[in-house]
Symmetry: C2
Subunit: 116 residues, 2 copies
DNA sequence: TTCACATATCGCCATATGCCGATATGATAA
DNA sequence: TTATCATATCGGCATATGGCGATATGTGAA
């Protein structure tokens, strides 16, 4: 029950849902999400923590950046069903649509790749 | 988005999840749910309103009782998927298991059927 | 080491949520 | 009609949540 509630609570906020849906399109670092969402960095970080603790996201470091992605592990089939269902459920949210449009133009400059 | 958030919020409370799962076994009136959940009547009523407004439940009158049931309408395929997923997801919650065991022994006396 | 950037955490505030008791509404029985 | 039962709504209280700015931590560049 606890796990289920954590997942539902995690998905109970529009900005968190938008984060998940953006990550379903492309893995992103915190600062990219911050720019897309237009929220304070601390707020984005807190949202990511909530999603992470619900088992919805995974993350990895790339230099100074932390790259977040939708979890791909097969250990929670239920979560995968929910994420799959989400794809077609909330595609018409205007705020999300606008973010999606801006997505290609938001990119970090990778320090580790910009030495040359 | 709004509808999705409403559904997620509705499913973000353990007692509401238990209500849905009990109703998946058998349609019930408010007083039966009240006894099973061990909550105040006003609290149960409020929970039912939240679930109802999320499109998860339907209700009908039977005399003085209001009988609640899980919605069966096909108009929201997403909700049906979620409800179906819920069946196998939260079956091990001890509180729910105890309620399930008590379910056969909790019943209203239907006024309209107890005249003879 | 020292600086700058990316991220995480902390403290605070406004609002939302879950609970209850009290009360209003709806329906049946007397 | 009046009394009673079932349900819904209201008001209040304690806690949870989402937002921000300030600050701490982690990483790479100089």
């Amino acid at each position: 029950m606890k796990e289920f509630i954590r997942v539902m609570k995690a998905m109970s906020d529009p900005n968190r849902v938008r984060i998940v849906k953006l990550l379903q399109l492309k893995e992103l670092c915190v600062c990219e999400l911050q720019e897309l969402l237009g929220l304070a960095q601390s707020t984005v970080s807190k949202h990511l923590k909530v999603l992470d603790e619900a088992g919805l996201l995974s993350n990895s470091r790339d230099g100074a950046w932390v790259i977040y992605a939708v979890t791909k592990s097969e250990d929670s089939a239920h979560i995968n069903v929910l994420l799959q269902e989400l794809r077609g459920w909330v595609d018409d949210d205007p705020v999300y649509v606008a973010m999606k449009r801006r997505l290609p133009f938001v990119d970090r400059v990778r320090i580790s790749a910009s030495c040359g």
